[in-house]
């Protein structure tokens, strides 16, 4: 069953087509790897799916709901969340607050009269322990190392308890121990029946984790299928390495 689809999706920047008539399907409860050379439109796709960029044409279907326009604040209501290629934390706020912001009240009036409760704190502790950051909970997020910031962003996404996670290069710049944590997170999400879209350049990790791989090139779908088969295709290798 597909939880996310795009049909003839376009994203143009002026005359440049960053995404060109892209039609893909993401299966529920699986990890779908999206690979492709730099500039192939992977991050643009995530930005469109998360409402960061308006789409130029086509439709996106979340859980059967067809959308021709996506705004960032509405994405959460479709059960979608994301991380960023360049980490975007609330740097001058403590680590704990970065998590609590994803757990607490969204309503303006409600937010005035509530801070957070024991359940929110317990969930935040669970998530921060998962990424080994509980001891750093009172530090400003901007003071963490790059890898720790990446992990915090992943923990913040997990706090959303979403159905679809869009991970944009979550392993970039991580030490091996940190990589293991993120691998465990992705496998755990799959075990819970959650859907992950994984944009990644490390092909070993893509092979290890992905149930399905989509290859993009020049904003178009180049190939898709089982990781071992797709990544061995001549046109995919050529797209990465050149003719």
């Amino acid at each position: 069953m597909n939880i996310l689809e795009t049909k003839n999706l376009d994203k143009h920047f002026g005359g440049v087509a960053a995404i060109d008539q892209l039609s893909i399907s993401i299966e529920k409860g699986k990890i779908t790897g999206i690979v492709g050379p730099n500039g192939s439109g992977k991050t643009t796709l995530v930005n469109v799916l998360s409402g960061f960029f308006p789409m130029s044409g086509g439709v996106v279907i979340f859980n059967g709901v067809e959308l021709q326009k996506i705004s960032a604040p509405e994405v959460a209501s479709y059960g979608v969340t994301r991380t960023f290629q360049e980490v975007r934390l609330f740097n001058q706020m403590p680590v704990l607050d970065n998590i609590l912001i994803a757990l607490t009240e969204r309503n303006v009036v409600g937010a005035l009269f509530k801070k957070h409760n024991a359940l929110h704190l317990a969930r935040a502790e669970e998530l921060l322990r998962k990424v080994n950051l509980w001891e750093k909970r009172h530090e400003m997020a901007g003071n963490l190392s790059y890898g720790q910031r990446k992990l915090l962003e992943i923990a913040r996404a997990l706090a959303m308890n979403a159905e679809i996670y869009l991970f944009d290069e979550p392993f970039a710049g991580l030490f091996p121990e940190m990589t293991k944590i993120v691998v465990a997170v992705l496998k755990e999400l799959r075990a819970e029946g959650k859907t992950s879209v994984l944009i990644e350049h490390n092909m070993d990790l893509v092979r290890e984790l992905s149930d399905h791989v989509i290859v993009m090139d020049g904003g178009e779908l180049l190939a898709e299928g089982k990781p071992h088969e797709v990544l061995a295709e001549k046109k995919v290798i050529e797209a990465y390495l050149g003719e």
Binding site: A72, M93, L100, L112, F113
Partner: protein
């Protein structure tokens, strides 16, 4: 002593203005240049109701706060289309527009001649006629504004404001419609500035448009940057510092013929040095 009480009243008024603007600039990251206009709006509405209609000060102040809040909703809705430098510029534009209204709507505001004869507040027969009693009244309002601000910044709402300041687009991913938060705090800040305006009008007993110029907005911004952005204590300390600094410079002993200019130059130099060596302000936690 009368001089010290006068300074303390001015500090109280600027402390309220600092608190009000720190919610908008320090906590939310919206560099607003319209605060003096809301200060003026509160002052004018209160003054007009006191002088023309003989209302009680506290009722007039309440209407001034509500009227300012209403105008702030309209201004805030337009400003919500902007961010960053454009927000600052557009808010300054609104400041200029409101100043022009104070200056040119002569039938109502009496234009550049201003409104004289504003009575001092009266509370169940007790008139705050002497400056010491007025100082106590001003301090009560400082305390109210401070605790309301503290309530806001310590709630989830306050945490959301900080997140908007840090990365508005990123927080939207978590389902926050940031426009409502930005508008709410902008209006709350404007209403607090109106409190300061009402107090100013009743204290000086005369207002004219020259008090509510764009320079005044810049002065309030200086209070919160020097005191400390995203710090309520910083707003209070900034007000004390910036009101007292020029007064201290009176006693430096510059030659009479250049005293005024030297004081201005010293004042500017001290601000530059502070920003060089203490960019987060005297007690601030946040750097622009």
């Amino acid at each position: 002593m009368a001089y010290l009480i006068h300074l303390a009243i001015l500090i109280s008024i600027y402390a309220i203005l600092g608190l009000s603007l720190n919610l908008v600039v320090g906590y939310t990251g919206l560099l607003s240049g319209a605060q003096a206009a809301f200060y003026g709006l509160g002052a004018y509405v209160t003054a007009l109701l006191l002088v023309n209609s003989g209302w009680n000060f506290f009722l007039a102040m309440l209407v001034g706060i509500l009227a300012t809040g209403f105008i702030a909703v309209l201004v805030g809705l337009v400003l919500s289309k902007f961010d960053g430098d454009y927000y600052a510029l557009a808010s300054l534009g609104f400041g200029v527009i409101l100043y022009s209204v104070f200056l040119n709507w002569q039938n109502v505001t009496n234009g550049p001649l201003g409104i004289p004869g504003i009575p001092r507040p009266n509370f169940f027969g007790f008139t705050f006629a002497d400056n010491f009693s007025f100082l106590l009244l001003a301090l009560v309002f400082v305390a109210i504004v401070y605790f309301v601000s503290r309530f806001i910044v310590r709630s989830s709402f306050g945490r959301i404001l900080k997140a908007i300041r840090e990365d508005e687009k990123a927080i939207q991913i978590f389902g926050y419609k940031t426009i409502y938060y930005k508008l709410t705090i902008f209006v709350a800040g404007a209403m607090m500035a109106a409190v300061a305006g009402s107090l100013y009008a009743a204290y000086i007993t005369y207002i004219d448009p020259s008090t509510f110029v764009v320079n005044e907005s810049i002065f309030i911004v200086a209070i919160i940057i020097l005191g400390g952005l995203a710090s309520l204590r910083g707003s209070l300390i900034g007000a004390v510092f910036l009101v007292l600094l020029p007064e201290f410079l009176r006693f430096v002993g510059f030659p009479d013929e250049v005293a005024a200019q030297m004081r201005q130059a010293m004042y500017g130099l001290l601000l530059v040095l502070l920003m060089l060596y203490r960019p987060q302000g005297l007690v601030g936690e946040y750097k622009l």
